[in-house]
């Protein structure tokens, strides 16, 4: 298996080519720093993303509470997580970094508030 990856670590955006199998990188080329090499391998073996979205909030002047996944989530879980989040309603008070959905989709990752509403 071979994948072309554009590095997103810094603005240069190196074109990294990675070859390997599901659980091993055999060849990685085109990166120009250590962080780029790590990113290329991770992106080849198992792409992850920070998910940011909103949940409905009751009792605040605002309609929505901004939230994020505390750690990056496996990319393939993102739309499943969005489904769970769309059915969630939280109540005030909420402080920044409170877990509003612990262990979303059994990923081991919490969805946490990024804003505070009294």
């Amino acid at each position: 298996m071979k994948k072309d990856i554009i590095c997103t670590v810094c603005p240069v955006g190196c074109n990294i080519t990675v070859e390997g199998s599901d659980d091993e990188v055999t060849v990685i080329e085109g990166y120009s720093c250590k962080r780029g090499k790590e990113y290329g391998s991770q992106e080849f073996l198992h792409p992850v993303r920070i998910l940011t979205t909103t949940v409905k909030i009751e009792g605040a002047a605002e309609e929505l509470l901004p939230v994020r996944s505390e750690q990056p989530l496996p990319k393939e879980l993102i739309m499943d997580c969005m489904k769970v989040i769309s059915h969630t309603v939280v109540k005030t008070p909420v402080r920044r970094y409170d877990a509003v959905i612990p262990n979303i989709c059994n990923s081991g990752v919490d969805i946490v508030a990024t804003g505070s509403f009294e």
Partner: protein, 420 residues
Amino acid sequence: MYEVTCDVAIIGGGPAGLSAAVAAKKEGAEKVLIIERDKNIGGILQQCIHPGFGLSYFKQELTGPEYAGRFGEEALKLGVEVLRDSMVLEIDPGNQMIVCVSSENGMTKVTADSIVLAMGCREKTRANIRIPGTRPAGIYTAGAAQRLVNRQNIMVGKNVVILGSGDIGMIMARRMSLEGAKVLAVIEIMDFLAGLTRNKVQCLDDFGIPLKLSHTITGIVGNERVEGVYVAQVDENKKPRKETEEFIACDTLLLSVGLLPENELTRKAQISISDVTNGPDVNQYMQTSIPSVFACGNVVHVNDLVDNVTVESMQAGKHAARYAMDKISDNPKEIQCVTGNNVRYLCPQRLRLDDQGKVKLFFRVLAPEADVRLQAKSNGRIIAVKKERLVNPGEMCSIQIPVGELDSDVVVEVIKEAVF
């Protein structure tokens, strides 16, 4: 009339205003007042719920609300006061006066020793770029759609075309996709991406959204609601090639076609404005042509990273506080910063020579270029050099120069490195 007196008055409670307020307080200004037209402080960052902020300032990737939250809380803890829901109508630096209005207090007169302009910018609209066609519902600027979706819980459409590959446009492409809409295409008139590469990867490629470079929208169709748009390739003069025109059926068009610093108050106060940035020209103290008025953030020049806004806004806040405490001399000798090869503008545009410290000059290039040397010259002598692997108009460049000993204008240029 309701009256307030302060040392430093800051217009706008977004990232620029909050950073300026924090710095003014820390410099020793006693009473620092932010005047904000929204219900809450934080500005546009409140709706920028995505990550990518703070990598250079906090060395940590934060979302907009987290970044704004940190500065907002710090400002309030330091005792910065805020007039919320208050719209500034006029500034009159000659009389050290600001007039604003709010439902709570009615007409309000604020008297301040120094003023910091931190009003930010606003989006270009359909009228600014003159797209032909009918005028149906369903056409939004990307930032307006972002506010509706992220703060007001109003979904703006189902099948979406986005014009402009700026960061806000790409981020909205991802946001709309996550919320269940189908984004059919992102259309960009230039032959290169306007925003950051990482946003193309994470916002477009992740969701299989096509990016059409060298294309533009040639017409909008629909009476009540948008029914679709005509899209065509453009030639090297950015003229649409009629034979390439295709129709994309959609119900929503988002425009991410650039930002304009919001300078109505600045113009009315007869503060000098740069033709290139559309913002006030400033020196390294972020001081405008009127010595008691400072400016920072997107009202000066449109930034791509809030971290840079924070750094320059802290200069504005610090020196506005010093001005209020009579620690800055009026009418210093100044030199100009001049644009050389492949440099569109420089900020600050002027340098006070009574400050011998180092100054970081921010600038944007005119065209993308690889393997270049950024250099600053004065009197024919090179005073600073920096190598870059890649420069492009979407990403701000900077170079640090020593001001000590300078006596004539500084030219900044981008030179192609010979490759052996």
